[in-house]
Symmetry: D2
Subunit: 101 residues, 4 copies
């Protein structure tokens, strides 16, 4: 399944880049396919693997803040592997043009 | 932590009440404190307990559809138990009036 | 359409109740049907009316913070008025029991 | 402000690529900076410009379906233009390495 998430610590100021960097380090070393965008991170994997990763990421943010808001969106579709590459390509093929990524 | 979630099956028509009913039956029997609203269900519990529940709910929806979109929002705050009742009361106290619930 | 939203200011500490109280005051005076829950506020109305309200709410939070994260979920269904009451009742009828609200 | 959104039509089957293609055509012609990812589209602009675009996108999906779920996440930060490019670069600089995009 495809999963996009973001984790926002509260009470640490309006700049949260340190926290995002720690999270992306964990994602980068997880071995799961991922892609970052300006609003979140998309990973692809089975429920247990993804949720274990998200728990680690959420925990590392809570280590240095009293409160965090974590948002998770799951798109689960049977029999469709490698959607982290395929979904965007599929819509470009349909439109017959390249889009901004 | 407080967790709101919703699970939307695709490919089963525009009425998804059967699917919501199955999910709420599982939530109702989970033993975790919960409250439903017109857009989702809020549960309160530890990460592992909540995620085990959400996996069950997501799975039961996938049992009868090829695709589902699951959205999860987490508000985790240290040292604040019973927020499923407390958050709304706290804002009513602050405003000095009852709000629509 | 049904719209749930939440607005989280960053850089103002981990307690954001003041900000939520200001927002709910605006919602309460808007005249749109609404219901609050521990994770957000659900309103019902046409696109323009709802978005005008959300712009006011987002702006009042930005008045006292440098950054805010606003999350909006829309469930738009043709020919279904008063869903803010009807959706929850419908699922209770289906299950044949009352749920926690 | 940065805004990520996705629009999911219900009742049209589990493949929703036609609908996504129509939406991305509108985004592509809007003139607003945007980036697509496997889970949604990020645009950058002022509240009114972005919401006018999202209304068009939501409407075009409702033209061919009875129900749609639209999710919108806003990250609004004072005095920070061009964040659609800057946010990802900033976290890469912090980590001292390139990430998957």
């Amino acid at each position: 399944m495809l999963v996009e998430f973001s984790i926002v610590p509260l009470g640490v100021g309006s700049s949260i880049g340190d926290s995002i960097a720690k999270v992306l380090n964990i994602v980068n070393e997880s071995g799961l396919p991922y892609k970052i965008n300006p609003m979140g991170t998309v990973v692809e994997g089975e429920w247990n693997d993804v949720m274990e990763l998200l728990k680690k990421c959420h925990s590392v943010v809570m280590d240095t803040s009293d409160r965090a808001i974590t948002t998770i969106s799951i798109d689960d579709r049977k029999g469709k592997p490698n959607r982290i590459e395929g979904k965007v390509k599929s819509v470009e093929t349909r439109l017959g043009k390249k889009l901004s990524k």
